[in-house]
């Protein structure tokens, strides 16, 4: 943590300047993300955005999360994105024009509406000087401009990391355990969807029967040894993808 940031967490002018600069970076990179035509550039914008948010976390007295943000998001998730982009080799220019004209206009209008309503709803009560950090007194208006500590006291007592740790393993222990399920599923999912080749022998139970396609075509059961191939996989629904690129050229 740089001295600047450490100072910023104390509040004051440093915090304001940090917010203005980092906020501008965050906004700019977010716009970059959705406007850059090259997907790799977009990913880099995303990294920048994540870094900016990490700084804001630090300012908001969430030191542990700031670090996690760097490691997990900037370090792992975006790298994963980039990895896939490279793997697929689709770094060429991406068109922003929609199939259906009007999508962009509509999206922008709705985005503005959403922003206005969300900003008004969330920020409304917390804009005054008194609500620098929105402490209880500030909210009720009793603590007339008292310098607000926010999480400082909490963090000072145990330290941000220890405090989070205690919470995670006491109040949130069940949620913490349950994320195991989530991660297992993610791993299985990646394997199921990402694995390139199937082992044919795994696919069909020995001795099981498969319906013949037509009543007339020979015996009811295929021989167990007749290794079904991966190519058969889609046979059942071939019709649904009969003309894959119909009309794709029209854009």
């Amino acid at each position: 943590m740089t001295p600047v940031l450490a100072q910023a967490t104390e509040g004051g002018a440093a915090e304001l300047w940090t917010f203005i600069i980092v906020g501008a970076v965050a906004l700019g990179s977010a716009f970059g993300l959705i406007l850059m035509r090259n997907a790799v550039h977009a990913a880099l914008m995303l990294v920048l955005n994540f870094l900016a948010i990490a700084v804001l976390y630090a300012v908001l007295q969430a030191q542990f999360l700031a670090v996690i943000q760097l490691i997990v998001y900037a370090g792992a998730i975006v790298v994963l994105f980039l990895f896939v982009l490279m793997l697929l080799g689709v770094s060429r220019e991406d068109s922003l024009t929609a199939r259906v004209p009007g999508q962009k206009t509509m999206a922008s209008v709705l985005g503005v509406l959403l922003f206005v309503s969300l900003a008004a709803a969330t920020a409304g009560p917390f804009l005054g000087d008194a609500s620098v950090c929105g402490s209880e007194e500030a909210l009720t208006g009793t603590g007339d401009g008292v310098p607000c500590l926010g999480l400082a006291a909490v963090n000072a007592a145990e330290g941000n990391l220890r405090g989070l740790g205690f919470l995670l393993f006491t109040d949130y222990v069940w949620a913490f355990e349950v994320t195991a399920v989530l991660l297992v599923i993610a791993a299985i999912g990646a394997i199921v969807l990402g694995r390139r080749q199937e082992d044919p022998s795994e696919l069909v139970e020995p001795g099981s029967t498969v319906l013949p396609a037509r009543r007339g075509s020979g015996s009811a059961a295929t021989e167990p040894g007749a290794g079904p191939t991966d190519a058969d996989e889609g046979a059942a629904t071939e019709t649904s993808e009969a003309t894959p690129s119909e009309g794709e050229e029209r854009t």
Binding site: S117, L118, A120, A121, T122, G124, P125, T140, A157, E158, F166, F169, T170, D171, Y172, V173, W174, A175, V178, T179, A180, V181, L182, V184, I185, A186, I188, G189, I191, V192, L193, E202, L203, V204, E205, P206, G207, S208, V210, L211, P212, A213, R214, R215, G216, A220, P228, D230, A231, D232, E233, G234, A235, A236, T237, E238, T239, S240, E241, P244
Partner: protein, 551 residues
């Protein structure tokens, strides 16, 4: 343990782990991991199974230390381990069958545990409520009822899928673990007493369902449905999460009951309350498929492998509604004046749009997808009634819908095996002659979906209507009736095709669908449709008593 406790700062308490309360989740999750392990162990399945047995014994030894129910738990664990070892020894050369059997056993055990908890909790009265594990887990009527339905649907799904997956060459080892894990997510969601657990539950169940929808890797339809589901699911859960964040911001807590009470406090900033409710509504409306957040439903239902669709329709809906009920009817009862009008309008629009759009569909899975949308609208009426009657009615409706949709999608799995393609209405012509039993059962499910008396669909709709009238929402009841009249038209269309159209030559060449595990599953559903339609008191009673929320 005590040494650790001494290091804790004052005010920090380690919550007690209520093993009994969370045992259904543990069972499902454990079974999922076990099936996964046995599948990946390849030739060494027997040794892997033995290791798993030893691990279970270890857990049993751990469990033997605290608690009164310890002997029961230990005996159950050891028994389960022995059964699993025996099954592995017997079936180790047929991994899919082994997985399927273990999955069914796990679901059956979940039903057993839930029944035991129900018994313990309710002696004729409403199910008692408990908030456990630092107020993260709610063991109450809604949670227990959902466990019943989810586990029951799981068993039937396994029956429906076995031969189907085999035929399509997508009978992969990961299928059963995924099924168990998504069921885990559903029971977690249904018993979530905290908004964080709601979010995690939704994510767990969805993530597993995304993968299951896309399990046919070579099939573009399946991939497309998985992709749409995932992208839109992630998109909408961002809204849900934002809503949760706002509730947290307004109240300083994510515990549903506490937050609900705090939100109703006039001192709470109004903007946060409104935006929070609206955004959470988006998340839930997406999951239960209310218009206009329904658009993924027909596409995903159509593209996903049919047994997966069946499970999605039957179980996801009940789990999502359970959480919906808990958060809105349970937690935010005092704020009903804000959200009831909005949800009422959503429900009304959903009922009409779902029914009208289903009329013009030809693909049966897609038609049933739209019909699912309409049914979500019906079930939502019980929600906006904001009463015990309404909650009970919604729960019963979801049970009924689970039975009907498992049945009808089950029929489709059988037919798809026969024809090796997606089924359009025209493909059903003459089925009444070719396979009368199958066609009769399909007709039964469709009539039940249409709400014809004598079937469970009627009883369920009647319960909903009663709740609506009771709550003074007669106009919603009227919309329901109008919608179900429109719906009758497309259900009847299918029946006409089956019984009153000539069978075209190319269909006559196909073999008659053989009896299989899937027929068993479908028959069970058919019996349930009739039994619950004619003499439903016991189950209605169950649902009404389940209308309790842990505070």
């Amino acid at each position: 343990m005590s040494a650790l406790a001494q290091q804790l700062p004052a005010g920090v308490e380690i919550p007690e782990i209520p093993w009994a309360a969370i045992s259904p989740e543990l069972t499902l999750f454990g079974a999922g991991i076990l099936v996964l392990l046995l599948d990946t162990a390849g030739e060494r399945r027997r040794s892997a199974s033995a290791i798993a047995l030893v691990a279970l014994l270890g857990i049993a030894a751990l469990a033997a230390i605290p608690g009164e129910a310890a002997p029961v738990v230990v005996a159950l664990l050891i028994g389960a381990g022995v059964v699993q070892l025996a099954l592995t020894l017997w079936l180790h050369t047929r991994p899919r069958l082994l997985g399927a059997v273990l999955t069914v056993l796990a679901f059956a055990a979940t039903i057993g545990i839930a029944a035991w908890q129900y018994q313990a909790a309710a002696n004729g009265g409403p199910v008692a409520t408990e908030s456990l594990l630092a107020d993260m887990v709610a063991v109450d009527g809604v949670a227990l009822f959902t466990r019943f339905v989810v586990a029951g649907a799981g068993i039937i799904t396994v029956l429906l899928g076995f031969a189907y997956l085999q035929d399509r060459r997508i009978h992969r080892g990961e299928y059963y673990p995924l099924l168990l894990l998504t069921a885990t997510g559903m029971t977690l969601l249904a018993s979530a007493a905290d908004l964080l657990m709601v979010f995690l539950g939704i994510e767990i169940l969805s993530l597993a369902l995304y993968v299951m929808s896309g399990i046919a890797r070579r099939d573009m339809a399946s991939q497309e449905s998985a992709f749409k589901y995932l992208l839109l699911g992630a998109f909408s859960s961002a809204f849900l999460l934002y809503g949760i964040a706002l509730v947290y911001g307004a109240t300083g807590t994510t515990h549903i009951a506490t937050a609900g009470a705090e939100l109703a406090d006039p001192a709470t900033p109004a903007g946060l309350v409104f935006a929070g409710i609206a955004l959470m509504l988006v998340g839930f409306a997406f999951k239960v498929a209310l218009v206009p957040f329904h658009m993924w439903t027909p596409d995903v239902y159509q593209g996903a492998p049919t047994p997966v669709t069946a499970f999605m329709a039957a179980a996801t809906k009940v789990a999502a509604f359970a959480a919906f009920l808990r958060v809105f009817t349970g937690g935010m009862e005092q704020l009903a004046w804000i959200w009831v009008p909005a949800v009422s309008v959503l429900a009304a629009v959903t009922m009409i749009v779902g029914a009208v759009l289903a009329v013009v569909q030809d693909d049966l899975k897609r038609m049933l997808g739209y019909s699912a949308v309409a049914h979500a609208g019906y079930a939502a009426i019980g929600l906006v009634a904001v009463s015990d009657i309404g909650t009970g009615a919604t729960l019963f409706y979801l049970l009924a819908y689970a039975v009907m949709s498992l049945g009808s999608f089950g029929i489709l799995t059988i037919l798809e095996r026969r024809q090796r393609k997606a089924i359009a209405i025209a493909d059903l012509r003459g089925l009444g002659q070719r396979a009368p039993a199958l066609a009769a059962m399909f007709a039964l499910f469709l009539l039940s979906l249409a709400g014809i008396p004598g079937t469970v669909g009627f009883i369920a709709k009647f319960g909903i209507v009663r709740a609506a009238v009771d709550a003074g929402l007669v106009w919603l009841a009227v919309v329901l009736v109008v919608s179900s009249v429109i719906a009758a038209y497309f259900y009847i269309r299918v029946i006409v095709a089956m019984f009153m159209d000539e069978e075209p030559a190319h269909l006559a060449d196909l073999p008659v669908p053989p009896a299989s595990a899937a027929s068993t599953g479908v028959s069970v559903a058919a019996v349930a449709v009739i039994a619950l339609g004619v003499l439903p008191p016991a189950v209605i009673d169950l649902a009404e008593r389940a209308a309790t929320f842990a505070g």
